[in-house]
Amino acid sequence: MFFKYLIVFAQAHHEFRIPELQSVAKIHGFDISLPEGEIETDRPFMIVGLQSENHARQLAAIYEFYAQGSTYEEVHVQNRANQALWSRYKLNTSFKFFVTAFNHKLPQTQQRQVVESFSYTDFMGKIDMKNPDIVLGCFEEYVEKKGMIRDRHDDHGQFRQVYLGRWIEELGSARVLIKTFDVKKRNYFGNTSMESEVSLLMANQTLASPGKLIYDPFLGTETMAYPAAYFGAQVLGSDIDGRQMQGKGSDRAPDLILYNYTGHLLTFDITHNPWRCGGLFDAIVTDPPYGVRASAKRLGRKKDSVPKGWRCISNIEAILAHDSPYIPPTKPYELSNLAV
């Protein structure tokens, strides 16, 4: 049996939202039921079905779903009907109730009015903004006002949808770890280091977990490799340029400890690679050369079609461009195209 949960997504990289949810669910071995029909991945709120609160704890910014509506009247009706979900918090439970708006700035007075409209819930516990037993969140979703001039005071309440739920504290999903991987905090990074968030999401995508052997053929300064290693996977990496891999000598040592990373490094041109055949890797996580920042280098004369060096590693679950097992080194491409 599925229960409803409200997910509040972070702003960036919305194309990773669904795949990331699915990866997390797969890693932790639970089912997730997604909304039916076409999913608008650019909207920050989504109601999903999960079989238990413990499953929800594996996900970031997730709320037990109480109600939604295009007006507060609708929300209150639904919320009353769902009383069974929250009536147990009426007594002896300290709480915090917050109201926020997406694509909109909601003044304090407005927020207070909203909170007061929920007084029928009759929560007797004390309000505790610092350390409450439960946190209730109310989210107003407004349509993006790009390029539109509107009277700032006029459209409070003109939201597209409003959601209400109880916050569920998360145990440790990728997003929590992002801070750990903030590349800026690293002692050494090259000019091609990828955003830490994307690398984490990609690591999550490959179901990087203890037991997996993951390969990055364009290792560079190893930003893609760290998160995979952090999740416990064995990571193997190579690059045509051996200098970056050695970092700046001892400068890199604290990193290696921080990330518990003991990757295996090799120097070669991936288009002429020495891997023996036999389905060696469980996944490839990589950030291939692009544009001017890190232009592709390739030894030997240009040949068209797929370099034969790829034949041994192309049949795996690769986090590379869609159908082609090989990315033409000079063609610029979008980050999103890297995902499966």
Partner: protein, 123 residues
């Protein structure tokens, strides 16, 4: 960091060298033993991919005789620990890997094997 796990996946890729090009033979090696976290799950997942004879022979060349000649069917803890040590804790820091077929030499320096080929060596 050439560990035997990596070594077990590498074959010579010089021009025209397509048979008897595995495993590469170590020589003039400097070895360091570094402890790694024991992860039986990884080992079980990796065992099907191992070229067993190559691994045992290479480990013996480097002085480690803990692995049985035949890959055992039962994976007990003692076996997994030996395998763990051989695959992940023996680091070849310096040395050369030579192709048994064409004798091409791949140098290892500062722990990083240089598998790059010169233009005329590319097939």
């Amino acid at each position: 960091m050439v560990r035997l796990i990596t070594h077990n996946l590498l074959a010579c890729h010089a021009k025209g060298c397509t048979s008897n090009n595995f495993p590469l033979a170590f020589s003039n090696v400097q070895i360091e033993i570094r402890e790694a976290e024991f992860n039986p799950e990884f080992l079980k997942n990796f065992i099907p991919k191992v070229e067993w004879n190559a691994l045992v022979d290479t480990a013996r060349q480097l002085g480690d005789t803990s692995l049985p000649l035949e890959q055992p069917e039962m994976l007990d803890e003692e076996f997994l620990k030996s395998l763990h040590h051989v695959l992940l804790e023996i680091h070849v820091e310096e040395g050369v890997m030579t192709c048994p077929n064409c004798k091409h030499e791949y140098p290892i320096s500062n722990g990083i094997p240089n598998m790059l080929l010169a233009e005329h060596e590319i097939g």
